[in-house]
Structure formats: C-alpha cells, structure tokens
Amino acid sequence: MAKPFLMIHIRPGKCDYCGCCVGVCPEDAIELQESKIAVIEERCTNCRKCVWACPWEVIEFHREGIKDLPKEISALDNLQFAHSLK
C-alpha cells in the first residue's frame, strides 16, 4: 500500500527483540534479528496491532508520519538494514 511516509516507529535501543509484535503483524512487515528491528515501510498498513502488542510500549504511531522527527529518533538506520535483505 502506498503511503507518504512511515507512521509506525520502534524506538531504537528500547526494544527487547521479543517478537510479540512480529507475531501479530498481518503484513509480515517487521524484520527482527538478534538485536535489530525494523518496520518495512512498503508493507506496513498502519494497522497498529504491533503498537498494542508490545509489552514494553516501545512502538509509537505518529499520525503525521515520522519524516519531521529529529534524526536521532528516525528509523532510517533500521530501514537500511531491512532493505539490505530484500
């Protein structure tokens, strides 16, 4: 689904890499490694199931998208990693 920009954001360094969010994501839109995680933008439909599932509340939903957030909390590094596998 085409979207202007990413609205689901996993706060870097806060995640426990437990996979609960991955288990409920209907779009297979979350890439999870031992200590890396990223939302695959092109697949995500902003359904927010991952946000609700996260036991530690580290996934945020930004109605306006995250393009204007300061660089240090952008998901760009993570996205590059997700893309490198596709």
Partner: protein, 389 residues
C-alpha cells in the same frame, strides 16, 4: 557445514532441537540454524513444566532444575487463595541450560548446529517450490539447499508465511507478556502461584514461580485486546512495587505467547511448522515448552520418514498425527480459555469461595473446575469433550 542437507531446522528452541534430534535419529542429514549468539539465551519464559512432560524427552537433572514444585496456589481477586491437591510434581527450569542440553541431544544424533545464523528468506525454484533457505550467517549471506524446512522460529515466526501459510496470531489470542526475575524476596520454593483478576491481569493471569532461594520469576500475560488499554509492563511494575518493593531485579524481559488453536495448516510447500511457530501452545495455561517438543518430535519423525520414503507428500502425515495427539485437545482448551477469560472478578471470587468450601480431599483441580462450572454451565459441554475421549 555441508553444501546441502535433507532437512534444515530454523530456530533452536525446545521445538527446534527436538525436531532436529528426531529427524537425525530417523536417518536424515540435519542442519539447525539459530539467529541468536547462544542457544537458550535470552530466556523469555516462566520456565514451569510438569515432570511427566519432561521425562518423555530427557531425564531430570539438577543442573537445569531451579526448583521442584509440589503445589500450586490460585489467588482470587479478593486475595483469598485455594491450593488444589496435585498428584504429580513440576519443575521450574533454568532454560538457558535446559535448551542447551536439548540442542546437545540433537548434536549427539548428528545434527549440525550454527548460531548467529539468521534465516531471512526461503529459497524457491522457478515453480515457487521451496528448495532451501537463505541465511545471514555471521553477517554473510548464504543460500543452503535442502528438501524439507522445519520452521521452529517461535512466536516471531515468519518462515511459515514465506511458504504461504497465514500464521498471524489474532490479537485476541496473542498474550502480551512481561516478566522479571527478582531476588531478595521471601518465596516458598515448592509452590507455583497464580494471581487472577482485573487488577493484576484482566482475562489472563500473573505468575510467581520460585527459582531457587529468595528468587522467583514474576510475570504476567494478557490478551493484546486488553493490553491495548494498559500494557503488560505497567501491570507488572505495579504488582512488584506493591508486593516486592525491595526486590533486586535480575532479568527483565518482554515476550509473546500465541494462545490460539494450532494454525489451520502446519504443512505446506515442503515446510512444516513446529512449536510456537505452529501455535502449539496450551491455550489455557500458555505453556508451550512440552507441547512444542511433542510437535517437534512428531514433525521430526515424519520429516525423516518422508526423506527415507523419498516422498515429500508424506509430510501431511504430521498434521494428522499432531491433531490426534494434542491438536484436538488444544481446540477444547481454547474454548475453555475463552470462558475463563470472560469471568468477572466477582465470579472468580465466588469460584474460590466454593472451592474453599470443598472438603480438603476434594479440593482438586477437577473440584475447582466443577465449582467454576456452576458459574458458567456452558463450559460443561467443552469440558465433557476433554474427558470423554
């Protein structure tokens, strides 16, 4: 590492190691890949199992038993509790050692194990048939051909999806969990505690499982549908602050448990799913160690048979054997879970009260269950099904 294998197992949890072990024992060449650096770590588990469950696979060993339990206590929302009589005993494991030992049993059968090996896709031929896996092993991309892929990749499973099976867990069924291992507390070492009620874990439960002197796993799980309103970590922090304010926190983890019926399909396109990846969890208790190992054993055996017979269509036998062994039970348990989750605090309190009125010798789980039935007669049919066949 060889250039190709009969069977590749993705994930080295209890289900994966058991599948690998039985597949190799059946004569297949087997590779098991684990994304993490260590088998068995990090531990995302309350670690409680029954003695009867464990001994099907491994002889109990003090090096992976943190506590031996003989009782469990059900604590109602109003704080009253009942201790049902139990016949068997149970253990609280040290899973970081237990999982390791299971992987060693697999290795003894000839399974090759590689850690820091993340499977990021399936290898398919031009017709879309699965013919291997694609992995990132110690940061290097490598494709490894095989005949059968066993997806034992846990709650975060994606391998099944890549083979065309919809393994997404409905948010109603996913339990969002948080747990801390805490120390410096007073905790009875032979009792598993279960707390119920809207204050601790609406629709789910909170557990305090002993883990050796002055130490316990304290955690809870609640349906994502409930977690939407208030998260697992908030419930857990409140409980620990109230009940164990001075505890030292040794570990702190998040997790998810798919408390669903088994996935509609657990075999497709030369891929079989075992353990949490297949939703082979007891939906009432959320326990998935033993049932995942049973799924792994059946899956491993059937996969090896398919290799020997040179007939991959034999894999559908796994679905049938699982359904007959535990799948049908989990369907019944699922309906019971739904009924229990709908109990209000008042109902839970009155179940506890009726159980406490039972004479001690009748205070068994069955007795408590009958007390529960008075509150929810529609459960009767479901329960009857569990005991009839």
């Amino acid at each position: 590492m060889k250039t190709r294998y009969d069977i590749i197992v993705v994930g080295a949890g209890p289900a994966g190691s058991t599948a690998a072990r039985y597949a190799a024992a059946g004569g297949a060449s087997v590779l098991m890949l684990e994304k993490d650096r260590d088998v068995g770590y990090p531990v995302r588990c309350g670690e409680a199992v029954s003695h009867e469950g464990v001994i099907q696979f491994i002889q109990p060993d003090s090096k992976w038993i943190a506590a031996t339990v003989t009782k469990f206590r059900l604590v109602a929302p109003n704080g009253k509790s009942v201790v049902p009589r139990l016949d068997g005993i149970g253990y609280v494991l040290e899973r970081r050692i237990f999982d390791y030992e299971l992987a060693k049993l697999a290795a003894e059968e000839g399974v090759e194990v590689v850690t820091k090996a993340y499977v990021y896709d399936l290898l398919k031929n031009d017709d879309g048939v699965v013919v291997g896996i694609r992995a990132l092993i110690k940061d290097e991309k490598i494709d490894i051909p095989c005949k059968i892929v066993v997806a034992a990749d846990g709650v975060e499973s994606r391998v099944g999806k890549w083979a065309g099976i919809d393994t997404t867990c409905h948010i109603r069924d996913m339990e969002s969990c948080a747990q801390m291992t805490i120390s410096g507390i007073n905790v009875e070492q032979d009792v598993l505690d279960f707390y119920f009620g809207d204050d601790v874990s609406p629709g789910g439960y909170l557990w305090v499982f002993p883990k050796g002197k002055n130490t316990a796993n304290v955690g809870l799980g609640l349906s994502v549908e409930e977690a939407k309103k208030k998260s697992a970590i908030k419930f857990l922090r409140e409980f620990i602050e109230k009940k164990f304010p001075n505890a030292a926190i040794l570990t702190h983890i998040a997790g998810g448990v798919p408390c669903a019926k088994t996935c509609d399909r657990i075999v497709a396109n030369n891929v079989i799913l075992v353990g949490d990846a297949a939703h082979q969890v007891n939906p009432v208790s959320g326990g998935g160690i033993i049932s995942g190992m049973i799924g792994g054993m059946i899956g491993g055996q059937v996969a090896a048979e398919a290799i020997t017979k040179k007939d991959l269509s034999h894999l559908t036998e796994y679905e049938k054997r699982w359904q007959k062994r535990l799948g049908w039970r989990h369907e019944v348990f699922y309906n019971i879970k739904e009924a229990i989750a709908s109990f209000s605090d008042d109902t839970l309190n009155s179940i506890c009260d009726s159980a406490l009125k039972l004479p001690e010798e009748k205070r068994t789980l069955g007795g408590i269950f009958r007390a529960a039935l008075w509150n929810k007669p529609s459960m009767l049919m479901e329960v009857a099904k569990v005991f009839v066949s």
